[in-house]
């Protein structure tokens, strides 16, 4: 790819060379590039482009750097030098509270973390099973009512999440699941996007494979489990990552599904600690240390699987 770029750069004035290079078709340039304009203009375009990208990087990563730096500041330093990325003095007081090392001030961070991991892992496993089964049935199995089920799943996409805030509480209350792990986990199994994603992935597998398995005497479940499922591993990874991210970041559902502080997740704990503190000058290092801690698992997953994240935008079938 970089070779391609070199070629373009060396022969900017020759449209035919450019055409053969561009017929390779990857990212299509539209605005910031112009193969047909004079060299000086291209340099200008490039300078503006990099300027924009650098500014963007400061705007998009800067706040996170400030967040990390502030978590190592003293409360006074955080208020007087908010922009500085170098804490002076370096203070681990906030992180000591987070780690439970400060006997005077205890926050049940490990409880929150434990709840977050428990819920996230359960939801992810549940969604993997539910989504792949339903996706396979909708993509491959012929049964009466399939069209209705499919229409129902698509309809779910149109239901705005925040509208369900009160309704979900009503049902959990009615079922006696308020303030329970079941009430936190089961409603998050609803995952229309994941079902559609799996359906799309199964449809891309040649139907001949199902037939071959069937002729060899495999039943429906055997065909699904041993033959087809291993072929859609990328989609399974995408569902895993989306579920992990979605349920780790979930907030409103836990807010209405629980009131017991022992059931608080990371997000809920932080939100309750912060909400109502409007003047908000107190304990920013602590709050930002908590926010950093809650971001770390997602950041790790993102660094290793960013291509799955970046692809998920168009895999959901929303387009």
């Amino acid at each position: 790819m970089s070779g391609l770029l070199e070629r373009r750069r060396r022969q900017p004035a020759d449209p035919r060379a450019a055409r053969s290079a561009r017929s390779e078709r990857e990212a299509v340039p539209v605005v910031l590039t112009d193969l047909y304009s004079p060299l000086s203009r291209k340099v200008l375009v490039r300078v503006i482009g990099y300027g924009l990208l650098a500014l963007g990087t400061i705007l998009y990563l800067g706040p996170f750097l400030v967040q990390i730096a502030t978590s190592f500041k003293t409360d006074a330093d955080a208020v007087t030098n908010p922009v500085s990325l170098w804490p002076s003095p370096v203070s681990t007081a906030a992180w000591a509270v987070v780690a439970g090392e400060n006997p005077a001030y205890s926050i049940p961070v490990f409880r929150w973390l434990g709840n977050s991991f428990l819920v996230t892992i359960s939801v992810t496993l549940g969604r993997l099973i539910i989504d792949s089964l339903a996706g396979y049935a909708l993509a491959r199995l012929r049964f009466r009512g399939r069209a209705v089920v499919f229409a129902g799943v698509v309809a779910v996409l149109a239901v705005p999440g925040v509208v369900l805030l009160i309704p979900k509480f009503l049902v959990l209350n009615q079922l006696g699941m308020f303030d329970s792990y079941a009430g936190m986990i089961l409603p998050l199994f609803c995952d229309a996007v994941g079902i559609l994603l799996m359906k799309t992935a199964f449809e891309a597998v040649p139907a001949e494979l199902d037939e071959a398995a069937r002729i060899d005497g495999a039943g429906v479940f055997r065909t699904f489990w041993s033959v087809i499922l291993p072929l859609v591993r990328p989609a399974l990874v995408t569902v895993t990552i989306l579920s992990f991210q979605g349920s780790w970041n979930e907030f409103t559902h836990f807010l209405v599904a629980t009131s017991d502080p022992d059931l608080a997740t990371m997000n809920l704990g932080i939100a309750r600690l912060t909400a109502g503190d409007l003047q908000g000058s107190q304990q920013f290092p602590l709050k930002l240390a908590l926010a950093t801690l809650s971001t770390i698992p997602i950041a790790i997953v993102y660094v290793f699987f960013s291509r799955y994240f970046l692809r998920s935008g168009n895999a959901t079938g929303l387009k």
Partner: protein, 358 residues
């Protein structure tokens, strides 16, 4: 639960009859089909469709959340929850109208900002004269994957009175406001610069929904601007990806043809890229609109509707009325009005989309 359902399938497998293997398999397929979708259907019915139906019922009750809403203890009040929300003069309608005003400005500024910003980002990371495009994509998308709670806490710090944003503004000589405690409407501030400090008679006297026109025309409050900045920052990465997909779908040949015909870069952008990106733009506008109407997390953490109710949103009213005041009927009614607004927006998008395709 789900595990047993899946295990049932091989156990219940009917051996295909030798002579008619197809129809035997068909039968098995039919049963398996329902078994496979059963977990998903159960979860969706119990935790999605049933709640909606139940909330529709509760919105017709005067229910405090204590007993079962089906026990008959809660009084059936018909449409009076909706009436006090939309028609009867009172605190509730006043709050609701304020929340609608706030959200309209939030939507207007947020959608405009996020569409422009994410389009520019998409163009930048799509341009092949620039190296490190995938790195920048990863950077710009990062805020979109972090939790709204963590980001809200961070913005609470950034937008303090003497916080990072105001310090940066002071470098260029701007004296920043005390963001989250400043209820002044931006349009009112601008009008104040022009010497219009109080409401002109006509605007103060005419009321729509119990709110004077002067109040409707306040613009977003300074506090709301901080919320808007947060949302634009956090969601632009997602929409950048949508635009990126659209940009990569544009045929190279078209662009080349235009270039050979002598169209300048700007002309190609104006008449080709924007034209071909229309569907992506409509899609992003719709998604941004729909999500803007639902803003809740940030309000809960950053402002709780304050200052002077200028960051109150319908979703937040729905939550506070229900869990704070025990008026679940009212809370459910607000949720349904919000639902209706969003459905209408979706239908409008469908309609616009059809126009474009024809």
């Amino acid at each position: 639960m789900t595990a047993t359902v899946t295990r049932d399938t091989p156990a219940g497998r009917t051996r295909p009859v030798r002579r008619r293997p197809v129809s035997g398999y068909r039968l098995q397929e039919r049963r398996a089909g329902w078994l496979f979708v059963a977990p998903a259907v159960i979860v969706l019915v119990v935790f999605l469709f049933a709640p909606i139906v139940m909330a529709a019922w509760v919105s017709l009750l005067d229910w405090n959340g204590q007993s079962s809403p089906f026990s008959g203890e809660a009084e059936f009040v018909g449409l009076s929850n909706y009436q006090s929300l939309l028609a009867d003069a009172g605190l509730l309608r006043g709050d609701f109208m304020l929340s609608v005003r706030n959200t309209l400005y939030y939507v207007l500024f947020n959608v405009t900002g996020v569409v422009v910003l994410s389009f520019v980002l998409a163009l930048a990371v799509n341009s092949y004269v620039l190296r490190g495009r995938s790195f920048f994509r990863t950077v710009f998308y990062f805020p979109a994957i972090t939790s709204s709670v963590a980001i809200s806490v961070l913005f609470l710090f950034l937008f303090q009175g003497s916080g990072v944003v105001n310090v940066v503004l002071s470098w260029v000589g701007i004296d920043g406001p005390t963001w989250f405690t400043d209820p002044r409407g931006v349009l009112h501030i601008v009008l104040g610069w022009a010497g219009v400090d109080a409401a002109p008679g006509a605007l103060a006297d005419t009321t729509v929904g119990g709110l004077s026109l002067w109040n409707w025309l306040s613009g977003p409050s300074v506090a709301m601007c901080a919320l808007i900045a947060l949302t634009i920052w956090a969601s632009s990465g997602t929409f950048m990806l949508f635009f990126l997909v659209g940009l990569q779908d544009i045929p190279v040949e078209l662009e080349e043809a235009a270039a050979i015909d002598g169209a300048s870069a700007w002309q190609r952008f104006r008449h080709l890229t924007l034209l071909l990106m229309r569907r992506s733009i409509v899609l992003v506008i719709t998604l941004a609109l729909i999500s803007s109407w639902q803003v809740f997390d940030q309000v809960f953490i950053l402002s709780q509707g304050a200052p002077a109710k200028t960051t109150l949103t319908p979703a937040y009213i729905s939550y506070v009325r229900s869990f704070g005041d025990g008026q679940f009927g009212v809370g459910a009614a607000v949720a349904f009005v919000l639902f209706a607004i969003i459905i209408v927006l979706t239908l409008v998008q469908r309609w616009v989309g059809r126009e474009r395709r024809a």
